[in-house]
Amino acid sequence: MAYEPQHLKNAPIVEAMIAFDFVVAEGELGQIRRSFIEQIQVEYPVQTPIQKAEVTFNPEGSTGKTNEVGSRCVSTGGKNVCAISEQTFICSRLHPYENWESLQSEFQRLWQVFASFGKVQVTKVAVRYINKILLREGSEIFDSVFTYPKIADGLPQNTFNVFVRLQIAIPEPQGTLIVTEAQLPPEKPQFVAIALDHDLQFPVTEETGDIWALLEKARELKNQYFFASISDELMKEYL
């Protein structure tokens, strides 16, 4: 990590997410969710249910059922999405990304509306940034992206379909970094598209203290981890 700019003007972020996991008293979530989505309907007019299908297979046949487990609300313009499921509250910002401040303030505003409808206890804080990185075809991957599978010398070296998922312990504050990398469909001649997805999750305990301070710490770490993951030369393309 030779240098660390504060803000990348052309950041390759395709989705930025802040999320809280939460618990509420049994039976209250449905009403809290309904009140919340009604409250934000003007700003987030496209509201669709999140459904969960469960299918059970057994020798006698199969049975299935579909349950509504949440709501997804999309803003006018389609760039901001708020999703509430059984235990997670998420705000997403899609491309083009603006900055942390606007995402964080929108998340905090919506969370405060949500939490005003009932007693909601936060159990996990998460920050997730998904980047789409274009690398020139034929270039050396490790010159640009530093976390990637190393293939044994005796194996053929031309990869054409890559999916990597790593779970890494974060020491302080204690948490988990989930790194997901995948090769994406081609979209620009002579270039290969790779998704670099960093999901930082921190359980909230009695010792955690202020959850908004924890969220700021998560932000610092996500910047640190991203800048440590790509080369200075690649980063210059996003300045």
Binding site: A19, E137, T159, P186, A195
Partner: protein, 166 residues
Amino acid sequence: MIPIAPPVLNLVQNDIPAIVCRMDAAQSGFWMQHADVFPKESTSIFWTREAQFRQLTESTRKAKVFEKGWDGYDASAPNDESVTRTLEVLSRVRDSKLSPYSVLPSADGGVGISFRGNANKRAVLELLNDGTASYMLFGKGHPIESSEFNSNTDLPRILQRLEEYL
């Protein structure tokens, strides 16, 4: 040295996490027993959309396997040209706000991409075997709008119209 492979021509060479894992788990007894190591579901709009377009691309490629008369009448099977052009159109749709609902062979010979919007609004793009393309907007309580278009030059305008309508 790990050289990056050249991009593949079709869109389906690249899998997204959930699909890869489910396919592997379904085919392997070992992974069936260790299914809990896989990500369960994606909360990300980006990954959800990638998965959706991967499935649509698979459906488009599979359209080639239909045979003449597949609809019980005399419909032609989709030919290579209509499938290739549908893949091209899908890659453009992927960059728009639109979310296709399905890809199916067209009874007129070719491939159709369908869309579902609010208030029963529906749309279909058809890429036919003879090289022509058309769109139709329809739905209960909504007037029908349809026209042919040139898929090489008019697509941005047509996609914008679909975004407005749906």
